[in-house]
């Protein structure tokens, strides 16, 4: 096609007309945090010291840059920097270009919107608690009742109302999770609910995922057939090797571990290899066994492990003195367990640690995976609703556990009366107000405020007040330490580890809230 080639003419001479403009530095200055100049209002970049010689700068887009102490001081002072340093800072939204225009502004806005999209989509996680009955009598469990206690079971009329209420949410993708107690003890209610929801969904056409959180002790072949046919996933609890698990989860036969492992095997054989996932709860007894716990998950063939701390309230709160541990103790345990997970990955066994994945998702990914406990404003009542056996609706799992302890102040009304106004319920609005990251003293100045969110239910449980000073909550103390630790890991990571962390950071199937089984 000769017409497209122009050669040999004077057009080939090209004079470079335009060189980059040199300007005095427009880097931002530190006033408590970095503030953008008002004429290029890109929001504020914030700094946090991770170690004596490492500071992380986090920009309004959620991008980060590691600095030395001198580098941080220079950034704060707005000192002159060379062109390439300036380019890197601009591209991370750490500092603003003097020429930033509509493109950059729209880009930042779209980045921030992507981080918030899961909050905007409406209630996507619906937790049904058919019964509080459970075969375990775990020392840290907030709620469960014994097998012969039939008073703590949902009425069929309430169950039906709950199934209908789920569709009030506009979210196109819904997760329906059965919790307890052990919901398998009332398999009949699970069947009733799944069938009713599926029936309605023939018209609604939502993308619905069912999860049953259970010890799996009662799991049998006919249940497996039903779960396979209706694409129901199972979520169970494994706290570690048999001795630890059985110590944490007493049953009359002292065989909780063996029966759960048998349930896992049955589910894998009859429903599918990926039909069951497991969660662990860290008790004081766990602290000495980080490697053993991870190894147990590998041995059982799980591709994920979730190193979860103990809830600090409910029954667990009462037992804090016996069961509890400090944030420092948890961090030592968590890091040792994560190191073991990374060891397995280096040695060819692929296993993902879910808590770090949630944090890396916040830190590294453009897209938020929508983990409820770190949403801001809170996901309680906005992304999650709990339909409890007692006939009432609660904004989250923890709220119904508080109710077991006699505090029903977070109740959103009866299941039978749920309507579309529930997201504007005074309690939900109060929870939102108590978790607006830009307005809470402490959160607004925190470097991690794009990734985190105050947990007002947690504050309420700990102090009886959802506006309790954020920094004094266990939620805040733990997450500050976790983010610090994860940023240090990023800074020191090998290329292979960075690849792995990015893989973990991608939104995956950890949107389902951990079970209370």
């Amino acid at each position: 096609m000769p017409i497209a080639s122009v050669t040999g003419s004077d057009k080939d001479s090209h004079a470079i007309l335009f060189y980059p403009r040199k300007r005095e530095s427009q880097d931002l200055t530190l006033v408590g945090s970095l503030r953008a100049p008002s004429d290029h209002n890109l929001g504020a970049t914030k700094l946090r010291k991770l170690s004596p010689d490492c500071v992380v700068a986090i920009s309004p887009s959620g991008d980060h840059l590691f600095l030395t102490a001198e580098g941080a001081a220079e950034l704060c002072a707005g000192g002159a920097t060379d062109e390439m340093v300036r380019a890197d800072r601009q591209s991370l939204f750490i500092s603003a270009s003097p020429f930033a225009g509509l493109g950059t502004k729209r880009l930042l806005k779209s980045r921030q919107l992507a981080k918030r999209s899961t909050v905007i989509n409406g209630i996507s996680l619906h937790i049904l608690v058919p019964t509080l009955q459970c075969g375990h009598s775990c020392r840290y469990c907030q709620v469960s009742r014994t097998l012969d206690d039939e008073g703590h079971t949902m009425l069929e009329t309430d169950l039906d109302s709950a199934c209908d209420a789920i569709f009030l949410s506009p979210a196109p993708a819904l997760t329906v999770e059965f919790q307890g107690g052990d919901p398998l003890l009332r398999f009949d209610l699970i069947v009733r609910a799944v069938q009713r929801i599926e029936q309605r969904n023939r018209i609604e056409q939502r993308d619905i995922r069912f999860v049953v959180a259970s010890t799996l002790h009662q799991l049998d072949e006919s249940m497996c057939d039903f779960f396979r046919a209706h694409r129901v996933y199972l979520s169970t609890s494994i706290d570690g090797p048999a001795t630890l698990h059985n110590r944490n989860r007493p049953t009359p036969g002292r065989d909780a571990y063996e029966r759960t492992v048998a349930g896992i095997a049955l589910a894998r054989a009859l429903i599918g290899e990926d039909s069951v996932s497991a969660l662990m709860t860290t008790t004081r007894a766990s602290l000495a066994y980080p490697q053993e716990i991870v190894d147990e998950y590998v041995r059982l063939g799980f591709s994920e492990i979730f190193i979860r701390p103990l809830s600090s309230y409910g029954f667990a709160k009462r037992n804090q003195a016996r069961m509890g541990y400090s944030v420092d103790q948890f961090m030592v345990f968590f890091n040792a367990a994560l190191d073991r997970v990374l060891w397995w990955n280096r040695n060819g066994t692929s296993i993902r640690e879910v808590y770090s994945s949630i944090l890396f998702n916040k830190m590294l990914s453009t897209f938020d995976a929508g983990y409820v406990d770190l949403q801001s404003p809170t996901g309680a009542g906005a992304s999650v609703l709990v339909y409890n056996y007692d006939g009432y609706v609660y904004p989250c799992d923890e709220a119904r556990m508080l109710a077991e302890d006699g505090d029903v102040s977070l109740r959103l009304g009866s299941i039978a009366e749920v309507d579309a106004t529930i997201s504007a319920h005074p309690v939900v609005l109060e929870l939102q107000r108590a978790s607006m990251p830009d307005e809470i003293d402490g959160c607004a100045r925190c470097a991690y405020h794009h990734f985190c969110g105050a947990n007002p239910v947690d504050a309420h449980a700990q102090y009886g007040n959802m506006f309790a000073p954020v920094a004094s909550t266990e939620h805040c103390q733990r997450h500050l330490r976790l983010f610090d630790s994860m940023y240090l890991r990023l800074r020191n990571a090998s290329d292979a580890e960075l690849d792995l962390f990015h893989t973990w950071a991608r939104p995956a199937s950890f949107e389902s809230k951990p079970c209370a089984a």
């Binding site: 050669t7 335009f18 890197d88 880009l107």
Partner: protein
């Protein structure tokens, strides 16, 4: 051009037909048809034109340019020589004069293509300078050749004009990919390469607009020195900020046009940048951004990046060197631009021999 035997079948009044006539009898039949009033039929015979080609006769001369070769794999329509950027390595240096005839010609070519190609590129210059006339050309292509994929090579800057963006993109049928260059992760880096202050902001704006209209985007990065120097950061920028693009094309520079005038900036030995390319590929993989290398022979790329190499040089401008004859990977190699001899090759050409292990 059509076969003599098929004329009766494919004739229509609004198309100009050239009939391949190899003997005197056939030629006389065409002349007779024309004299009876069938004024859109002529005969042709020549070695360099094939059935299905579109030919543009030079007025008053017994000569015609083939403007569309049915046998080619890569097809493109050159829509304008005007541009709002002035890139240091431009292979098609822009001119300022009005060239509306190029768009008329493009419309004619589209009407005259007999068998719809798999893909056709719309190129310039900057096609968005044509405004709604570009939409007309795309519209005609989609009517006449509904199965053909369309690729528009544009710097995207004018999409920062909401009215133009809306005129171009609203209700646009699927099947179009926008090929948009990005040369830096900060304004002054990109603006220097395209020699246009403000271009980075406009292109970013344009990319976000394309995303708003759910358009398919290929980002294009030309591997010249001022780009390679910060390629890794550019890929980070893309991974974090532009993960919606369908792919990123990393392209070796065509040694032609302004690239020859700015050799100090544009001539690189790609092999010497292997570490940079490895790191860039790793970053893009990390963010799951699909990417490919274009215009580079395999001997210019580290071997682990060969799976990303694409045979991209249009067939009419692709050649090999004599030394390539013995190379065992020649058949999957992009080769060289025909005009490399006036410029340079992306790296010293090294034929690969069969190894005993393979």
């Amino acid at each position: 051009m059509v076969e003599f035997d098929t004329l009766a079948h494919c004739w229509s009044p609004d198309i100009q037909f050239l009939v391949k006539a190899t003997d005197q009898v056939q030629r006389q039949r065409i002349i007779d048809l024309a004299s009876k009033g069938l004024d859109n039929v002529r005969w042709i015979d020549g070695a360099h034109v094939e059935v299905g080609d579109v030919v543009l006769p030079a007025p008053g001369l017994s000569r015609a340019d083939v403007v569309y070769r049915a046998g080619d794999i890569h097809h493109s329509l050159f829509l304008t020589n005007r541009c709002n950027s002035y890139c240091v390595m431009c292979s098609q240096p822009p001119t300022a004069h009005d060239d509306a005839w190029l768009q008329e010609e493009a419309l004619d070519i589209v009407r005259h293509i007999e068998d719809s190609p798999n893909c056709i590129g719309l190129t310039g210059g900057e096609p968005l300078l044509l405004g709604t006339r570009l939409r007309d050309i795309i519209g005609l292509l989609q009517v006449v050749h509904p199965e053909t994929r369309i690729e528009v090579l544009t710097n995207g800057r004018l999409f920062s004009n909401p009215q133009l963006a809306d005129d171009m993109l609203v209700d646009l049928r699927a099947g179009i990919k926008w090929l948009v260059p990005l040369y830096g992760h900060a304004d002054f880096l990109h603006d220097f390469v395209v020699q246009s202050p403000g271009a980075f902001e406009q292109t970013l704006d344009g990319l976000l607009t394309l995303q708003d209209y759910a358009q398919s985007i290929q980002l294009r990065i030309v591997l010249i020195k001022p780009v390679l120097e910060h390629l890794v950061q550019l890929c980070e920028f893309i991974g974090r900020n532009l993960p919606f693009v369908q792919e990123v094309a990393l392209m070796s520079c065509e040694p032609i046009g302004f690239a020859l005038a700015n050799r100090a900036l544009t001539e690189v030995d790609l092999l010497a940048w292997s570490e940079t390319l490895r790191a860039a590929s790793r970053i893009l993989q990390r963010y799951r951004v699909h990417h490919l290398y274009m215009n580079a022979p395999l001997c210019a790329l580290p071997q682990e990046l060969w799976p990303y190499a694409h045979r991209s040089i249009s067939d009419w401008k692709q050649v090999y060197k004599p030394a390539c004859d013995g190379c065992v990977v020649k058949s999957r190699c992009a080769g060289l631009f025909a005009w490399h001899s006036k410029g340079w090759t992306p790296a010293a050409v090294r034929p690969f021999e069969e190894t005993k292990n393979e």
